[in-house]
């Protein structure tokens, strides 16, 4: 198309520039809290609570030291009697008249989060794909009602069922277990997964499976060989949505997990209590907590974008 041609559907240069500026401004505004968290995580505790807030400061990894360790207060004489500090963390801790006593619970909580979020995402997407395929391809009796029923699980705030689930989990011995949390998040996410994936699978013509079935494959085999590879976009998009929910979920995590199965979201606020208001450690925990979801989203961003615009473009 020539530069002078003016298309009805194509936005003009001016409107495109305005739209671009709005997006950039919005993105910057939404990134301020993220930037503030990242900055705070590299501040020293005094810097983090100084007034007026410091935008320019000397970075320190004290917050990260405090995030991963527990410390005890000691007398200056005792600290002076110790052999020279081996690591930066040892050194900064001693400056505050403390010594590192051991590892904090952050790492195990973080690992819990990884296991529970990825485990439940896998289950939800796996079950969702199979269910969506079933709804898409077979004559399921009362299919519409079933789909509505599946969706209805998301029509109330999850916390409304907190007490029954709490009691149920206590009776079943699922309280404070990774399995319990995986089951719970799977149950919440599977409805989303079924609905999203059904749309994607509906778009894949049946003829591909029919061709594969005639070519000597069973329905199951043609599902894996022909349908699944074409549904990767939808599966990736669904997986990200499920993962973000399971990763960030706070209410049930704080209600149902307190010890061994506790995830990172309810753990991070408890850092505040350990030895004063340690904002850099909290910010460091939040920053580390953001990394997996960021990596996962960046890895799948192409599929995610295509997934979001899928219905709009194809229909």
């Amino acid at each position: 198309m020539s530069a002078t041609a003016h298309s009805v559907v194509e936005p003009s240069k001016v409107s495109r520039r305005i739209a671009g500026s709005v997006v950039v401004v919005y993105a910057l505004v939404s990134m301020i809290p993220l930037f503030w968290i990242l900055a705070t995580s590299f501040k020293t505790p005094p810097d983090s609570i100084s007034y007026p807030p410091k935008v320019i400061f000397t970075p320190s990894i004290e917050g990260y030291c405090n995030l991963f360790t527990t410390r005890t207060r000691q007398t200056a004489e005792y600290i002076a009697s110790l052999p020279p500090a081996e690591t930066f963390c040892d050194e900064t801790t001693r400056k505050r008249n403390m010594v590192i006593a051991g590892q904090s619970n952050f790492l195990p909580r973080f690992v819990n989060s990884l296991i529970i979020a990825f485990g439940s995402t896998f289950c939800a997407v796996f079950l969702g794909t199979l269910a969506a395929y079933g709804f898409s391809r077979f004559k399921v009796p009362l299919a519409d009602d079933l789909l509505f029923f599946i969706l209805s699980t998301r029509m109330m705030p999850p916390i409304a069922v907190a007490i029954p689930i709490y009691l149920m989990y206590r009776e079943l011995g699922l309280s404070d277990t990774a399995l319990g949390m995986i089951l719970l998040y799977t149950a919440v996410n599977v409805s989303l997964a079924v609905w999203l994936l059904k749309g994607f699978i509906d778009e894949i013509p049946r003829e591909y499976e029919e061709a594969a079935m005639i070519d000597g494959y069973t329905r199951m085999q043609s599902f894996f060989k022909v349908v699944l590879p074409q549904a990767t976009t939808g599966i990736a998009a669904t997986a990200i949505f499920c993962l973000i929910f399971a990763w960030n979920e706070y209410a049930f995590a704080s209600l149902l997990t307190s010890g061994t199965a506790q995830t990172a979201p309810p753990f991070i606020p408890t850092i505040i209590g350990e030895g004063g208001q340690d904002w850099p450690a909290v910010a460091a925990g939040t920053t580390v907590f953001l990394v997996p979801i960021l990596v996962f989203t960046i890895l799948l961003r192409k599929q995610l974008l295509r997934g979001i615009t899928f219905g709009a473009v194809r229909k």
Partner: protein
């Protein structure tokens, strides 16, 4: 290759009878074309043979075995879909190899390579084996789709309007090629189309379907020369047969019971009337290049027939029209053999 028999096969979708009590015997090595308008049950018949649909009643025999309840994979049939249905995530080579890689066949890799290359050459796509199947032109895609059926040596090839989404030139080209390959391999083919030229040129026998019923089956010549009824007569011939009520033109020897006379181009003799008073007048002459369509009005009926490129007729000419051994149909539309 094998015989395929359909015995009294019926299939309904909800309250729509797609195929009704269909009997069809396809001999080994035969090319049978099912011809009919949209919704006549052609595709359903193919899908029944393929096992993609299960019949409500009747039985299907493939190679002497009852296949009525078998899964598609167990039937030893190959299917060419109208929309190609190439696997978009696979290369041309992988598309062609796909049927051979099925767990049911477990063909060794070197054998697969040999077979795929052989077939790729046959359908003239061997120079594009490494391409993504989505990066091909329509004609190439259809070659791959046909090739994917040919890599196997099934009891029967089922083809569902495989050439319909191609342009006219390509269609004519692939039509010849398909017929050449079929003759070379001696394959049994059940082919569905609504294109009468495809049917006439490729078929050993043509089956005319209407509303789920097999109206007539026979050689292209028999179907054309001796149509069982008005429906069959109207399906073949270009331009379409003229259906003229008895008495419109001076009829020669009309059998008793005749209500309609079917007159194709070759059934009409048209001459300029000597005295200016004819049976009808020329409306216009439509020049198509290799031939001319002649539109004329006889009383209040419009007739269309062919005439030479160097036709003497002009618009407004009065002409006499006479029958030359036309087809006769009774009140129910069935042909009366004269």
């Amino acid at each position: 290759m094998a015989d395929v028999f359909l015995n009294g096969v019926s299939k309904a979708f909800d309250d729509h009878q797609a195929v009704a009590n269909l009997d069809l015997k396809i001999a080994d090595g035969e090319f049978v074309v099912l011809l009919g308008p949209t919704g006549a049950g052609k595709t359903t018949t193919l899908r029944l043979v393929a096992g993609l649909e299960k019949p409500d009643s009747g039985s299907i025999e493939i190679g002497g075995h009852d296949a009525t309840r078998l899964e598609p994979a167990e039937r030893d049939v190959a299917f060419v879909f109208q929309q190609y249905s190439l696997y978009p995530h696979l290369s041309v080579y992988e598309n062609l190899a796909f049927p051979l890689r099925s767990p049911a066949r477990r063909m060794p890799d070197d054998q697969i390579r040999r077979r795929v290359e052989e077939v790729a050459r046959m359908v003239r796509i061997h120079h594009k084996l490494d391409n993504r199947s989505t990066k091909l032109s329509g004609g190439e895609m259809q070659r791959v789709a046909i090739g994917r059926a040919l890599v196997r040596k099934p009891a029967i090839y089922l083809m569902d309007e495989p050439l319909s989404s191609l342009d006219a030139k390509l269609r004519a080209e692939l039509r010849l090629e398909l017929k050449r390959i079929q003759a070379e391999l001696g394959s049994t083919v059940l082919y569905v189309t609504h294109d009468q030229i495809e049917a006439m040129t490729m078929a050993d026998r043509i089956g005319i379907l209407a509303d789920g019923l097999l109206v007539q089956i026979g050689s292209p010549r028999a179907i054309y020369m001796e149509p069982a009824n008005l429906h069959v007569a109207a399906r073949l011939g270009q331009p379409a047969i003229n259906l003229i009520p008895v008495g419109l033109l001076p009829d020669a020897a009309v059998p008793t019971g005749t209500k309609t006379i079917g007159a194709r181009t070759e059934h009409l003799t048209i001459e300029k009337s000597a005295n200016g008073h004819g049976d009808g007048t020329i409306d216009w002459v439509e020049h198509l290049g290799d031939q001319n369509h002649l539109h004329l009005t006889v009383k209040d009926r419009k007739l269309i027939t062919l005439t030479d490129t160097d036709t003497p007729f002009r618009k407004g000419d009065a002409v006499t029209v006479r029958y030359r051994a036309p087809l006769f149909f009774d009140g129910a539309g069935n042909r009366i053999s004269g």
